[in-house]
């Protein structure tokens, strides 16, 4: 079974896999549950056939290596992610999995060919989710994804492949050198089956050479500036093209074309600002000013004065870290009440909870997840999370990404029947759709990036969140545009907008 489900080497053709019994039922009006049960049964068959090996395996848990910053400056994000990972591991060990399967097509509605209970596209009274239009009034006639599906379903076994799942977690202390040490330990000494790690891009870049050298299966679950094309790395967070363009489009329509960008002066800020610049002409926006404060700066009076002098219609704030979040209360106190847009704030560092209203009034962010998303599947997820961690302050975007990524890994390993890293990696390149708390997520095989359900979150003067526009599936298309295909041409680099001729036209 382990060998026959998916011949290694050419996953693209192997993916629809008509050689296995489970996929055979799949083509005749299947449900994903039966597919998964089939896989589980087949796994059980293996168990019976090779009892000695399995007994050895039981003593030998599946190891998920997990590095995040639990102390130091970035711990505010790291602890959320750690807790979400713990929840996912516990669910796997309790015999649960998220709905989903390979060979999704990446388009809403059509993935139902293979999905157990596909999301139903509906309109009218059946839709439980209220879509709110620009004016803030509920508009029930909008087309939405119906929210009746239970996404957490039995996996057919407790644990993974008859083995318990262990979360090996280490604290990176917001220190890049330590990150490298820990990654080496996880890979070389603990020999983890999968590595899930990384908040800051610097942390990812610190460990990626080690990951590549040892051919380690690696999930980077953060939202980031985009461009990582790496054979061994799967980036399950949202990237610039999924966030910058939607939020800009909305802001231009609602508030006007003139935008002032304030971005943290390092890779993420500069690259995201380049996206804003490059797509401004397409979206009929006009960048009338840019300011790049260093990460160390925490006092923003000159930035605020520049914005006031430039008189933009709205401000794009791409500020990162503890010091820079001071901008919001300072700007509010200085009477700067312009509409704001961002791709980072609120969804990660829950600034809308930490700062006193109205510092973040009128902030807009195109997010793939926030705990306030009013769907049933998300409310269930939030309830499960706070049941396990009642004292946690927030459940954010990266935590959700970590959660579904770990489930996704377990599903892929279960399907292929082994934790052998190369095989799991090839299986993950079979076009998976997973039903995450945010909605359906499609893992694009060629670029190892995920398409996301993007929602435009808006904070009001009391810092209450409403979702004013939705894009049920935005692809991470930029690496495809550059011709990246990791299945056929493995590579290990990070592309930057300077390599794309389109960006050169404007920057």
């Amino acid at each position: 079974m382990t060998e026959s489900v998916m011949p290694p080497g050419d996953p693209a053709t192997a993916a629809p896999s008509d050689t296995t019994p489970s996929a055979g039922t799949a083509s005749s009006g299947p449900t994903r549950r039966t597919l998964m049960q089939g896989a589980a049964l087949a796994a059980a068959g293996t168990v019976l056939a090779r009892p000695a090996i399995v007994r050895a395996a039981e003593a030998n848990p599946v190891k998920i290596g997990f590095i995040e910053d639990q102390s130091g400056n970035l711990s505010i994000y790291g602890i959320q992610k750690l807790h979400a990972a713990r929840l996912a591991v516990q669910e796997i060990n309790d015999g649960l999995t998220l709905a989903g399967g390979p060979v999704g097509t990446g388009v809403l509605g059509t993935m139902g060919m293979y999905a157990a209970k596909p999301p139903v596209v509906t309109s009218g009274p059946g839709a439980k989710l209220n879509v709110i239009d620009n004016g803030g009034t509920p508009d029930k006639s909008a087309i939405v994804e119906a929210d009746t599906q239970e996404i957490l379903i039995p996996s057919g076994e407790k644990g993974l492949l008859g083995r318990p799942v262990d979360l090996l977690s280490a604290d990176g202390q917001s220190n890049n050198t330590l990150w490298q040490q820990l990654a080496r330990r996880m890979i070389q000494q603990d020999k983890v089956d999968v590595l899930v790690a990384g908040f800051a891009s610097a942390e990812r870049e610190a460990i990626r050479p080690i990951v590549d050298q040892r051919k380690q299966l690696y999930f980077y679950t953060n939202q980031y500036e985009g461009g990582v094309a790496d054979e061994y790395t799967f980036c399950t967070g949202a990237v610039c093209e999924q966030q910058v363009i939607p939020v800009m489009q909305y802001m231009v329509e609602k508030f006007g074309p003139k935008v002032f960008t304030i971005a943290a002066n390092y890779n993420f800020g500069q690259l995201t600002a380049a996206w804003v610049r490059a797509f401004a002409p397409v979206l009929k926006a006009k960048v009338i000013g840019e300011e790049f404060p260093p990460l160390e700066v925490s006092e923003f009076s000159s930035v605020i004065a520049k914005v006031q002098a430039a008189k933009p219609d709205w401000v794009m704030t791409l500020l990162v870290g503890q010091n820079q979040s001071n901008y919001y209360p300072q700007a509010a106190a200085a009477g700067l009440h312009l509409p704001m847009a961002s791709t980072v704030n609120m969804a990660q560092g829950y600034e809308h909870k930490r700062f006193t209203p109205p510092s973040l009034a009128n902030m807009h962010n195109a997010v793939n997840y926030m705990q306030e998303i009013p769907t049933k599947r998300n409310q269930d997820f939030v309830a499960r999370f706070y049941k396990m961690f009642p004292n946690d302050p927030y459940l954010g975007q990266m935590a959700q990404n970590t959660y579904f990524s770990i489930h996704l890994y377990a599903k892929a390993a279960r399907l292929i029947g082994t934790t052998e890293q190369e095989k799991v990696r090839k299986t993950l390149e079979a076009g998976w759709t997973i039903e995450a708390p945010e909605g359906s997520v499609f893992l694009e095989p060629a670029t190892h990036h995920a398409s996301h359900f993007i929602r435009l979150a808006e904070a009001n003067a009391k810092h209450e969140i409403s979702f004013v526009r939705e894009w049920p599936m935005i692809e991470a298309w930029w690496l495809q545009r550059l011709g990246v295909n990791l299945v056929r041409h493995p590579e290990h680099k990070q592309y930057t907008p300077q390599e794309d001729p389109f960006f050169k036209m404007f920057t």
């Binding site: 260093p294 925490s298 009076s301 000159s302 002098a309 008189k311 209360p329 106190a333 700062f355 004292n391």
Partner: protein, 293 residues
Amino acid sequence: MAADLASILYQFGTNAAFLLLSALGLIVILGMMNLINLAHGEFMMLGAYAASASVRVGVPFPLAIVVAFLATFVFGVVLERLVIRRFYGRELGALVTTWGISLILAQGTLLLFGPYMAPIPIPLGAVAAGTYSFSVYWLVLIAVSVLLVVGLAFLYRATPFGLQARATMQNPAMARSLGIRVGRIYMLTFGLGAGLAGLSGALLAPTTSIAPFMGQQFVAPAFITVVVGGGANVIAGAVGSSTILSLIETPVSLALGTFYGTMALLLMALLIIRVLPAGISSLGARLRPAVAR
């Protein structure tokens, strides 16, 4: 045009007030006691935490600032008795010890109180001038920072405590023989420095996010301000250096961006120390033999 001028003045004032407030406690501990205190930022963090906790239980903000001062003062006094008093005259030992204390305070706060503390709303709103609008609270902070420095100078120049403290810092043995209780003076001075750090932490708390590692942002500005100011007359020196440094930083930031403003500040600090190794206040000391220590 008048509005532009007001805006430039406002930026200059906030930059200078930020430097001065960051440096306030360090003026006493580094400038007067000659103790390199790397836990300075964490003292400010404690002040902000005390203020935030007080505001949360219903204490009005001005009173919360007083609470923050008293809390960090007591903390400073206890710390001085338990640890710091062993390190007078051993500057480098103090440096390592206070670094250790700062690690304990910051990470300990994270473990005890979680990754952030309830914020304090910025009081007082804004005033408009032409296209610009200014935070009234920052205007108040500018005034308060000046008042605090004047008050500190008064304390050290015109009160018996100030006289005894200056004598002790200059020559402890001589001071002891004159009947001054040297140990107590050291304890109170360190407590005052800690309390002032806590006070400015509380004052700056509404403008920043209150979190265990917030102190780090103040350390570099504080040390630069005090060192550039120099030891001949620390209080006047700190005023002078915060003025000069923000005179450099503000126009460069306006013209070229915040990054170059920060670089200009750091380079200017290096340059001043090269030209005036004893700091800006040594200029004044050359003109007038003042005793400030």
